[in-house]
Amino acid sequence: MTLAVRDLAVRFGGVAALEAVTFDVRPGSITSVIGPNGAGKTTAFNAITGYLRPAGGRITYEGVPLTGLRPSAIARRGIVRTFQRTSVFPALSVEDNVLTGLHLRGTAGFLEVLAGRRRLAAEESGLVTDAAATLEFVGLAHRRREKASALPYGEQRLVELAIALAARPRMLLLDEPGAGMTAAEKTVVSGLIRKIREQGVTVLLVEHDMRMVMGISDTVIALNGGRVIAEGPPAVIQAHPDVIRAYLGAPRDPA
């Protein structure tokens, strides 16, 4: 078992954003969380990655509890996320963005840095090589020297993905990776997500684009009103009456 979410509850004031949410994410799978706006998808992501403190429930990763840990500590356990809104380090070059993502790969400590140990130069050039490989992987090698904020939207999303990948996740949480992208860009992203999974990374994503979700997911979890209403392979979810009702509304009663 990789990620296990049990009875997760999140409240904002009196409003229950998530209530008794329980699901598992199998290792090596691509799992999607879908649901109408306000269903609690991003809230679930925020709770899993430590950006929100849940009001109740347990989240464990390989049996180890994650609840109460800070985001950076969760990242250290191999769980890395992206954000719904484009999130890069705007003033930095694309390469420096990815180098920052490599933070946990570096080992240089404060005193070593001050002493200017020779080992660090080797480590640094190793990181630069890794950053180049990651940029190559997402197809942004030619943008290396450019300022992240100067890139078009779709490419900024790829920078974001590269930053997350640089952190060498064992589990990657993608919050609407296809949002605002053209159909062609979405195809590229879908391809990348498959490749990421092939490298042994478990992928959990929130996505609105049903074609993308149904095309790449092994399992789909449908949320509505803060609860899991259905879970299963894409074909089952597509035909699930509760899911259809959540998206389209209940069929009108014949009057």
Binding site: A75, L114, A166
Partner: protein, 311 residues
Amino acid sequence: MTRAGGGLLAAAALTLPLWLSSAYHLHVAIMAGIFGVLALSLNLLLGFTGQLSLGHAAFFGIGAYTSALLTLKGEWSFWPALAAAVVLAGAAGWLIGRLSLKLRGAYFVLVTISFAGVISLVSVNWIELTNGPLGLPGVPAPELFGWSLRSKTAYYYLVLAGIALSYLVSARLVKSRIGRAFVALRENEPLAESVGVDVTHYLVLAAVVSAAMAGLGGSLYAHYTRFVSPEVFLFTYTVTMVVMVVAGGKGTLAGPLVGAVLFTVLPEALRAAASWQWQMLAYGVLLVLLVFFLPRGIVPAVQALRGRDAS
């Protein structure tokens, strides 16, 4: 900066006492150097982690008082007193860093201002220790292997060494993964956390190093002016540091030094050229112009020009 340019600058700095004829000019150079250390120190926080400390004079003052008190009352010699000044100021930085962990932006600014206010009050009111508003006269000049560094030329080299050390520390940090973590916090804190940057650790580290460096500046100041009073905590000192960092170019290594030289030399030059009222007016106009035309500071503007030439 190119290697040749840097070498030339270093040569100029090293031979400066030979070029400057008067003791007054050398005095201005020493003050510029002390402010250079302070500006480098503030830049670590403001320029790299993006947190504005408006109480930076507190760390400067703690350094100055520590060094002065230890040499005067404790009869320590200069070098261990200098080290103690750095350590104590750094400890104060740690305290502020821990206290304001959850605070960013305006709240961090308020904590730092309040801290400076409190420390200033202590220096005025703890008369048995600090001699209150009268201050501590007769702070001894440093000695090195039995040689007194009392002369301005000798002190200039001491300050130059202080700058070199501060610059080296800044440069090594900034060019490492630690510096990248600082900048990541400035640019996008949630994203930085998502890739494992421990916010607590790096903000506290930046505060400690920055404060320790300001403590170094304070000690250098105390043993140069040979007199320390609660004036070292004046808000003006903090404002001067901020102006130097912002005008020179925050988040660059050379910016604070350029700012420190400019804003130490300029008021002195104006003092010679015009009466007091005109001085302040000219100073103000220049600041407005700088902010207006070079909002990111002098050094980034020069870098941008160079970049355009290159491409």
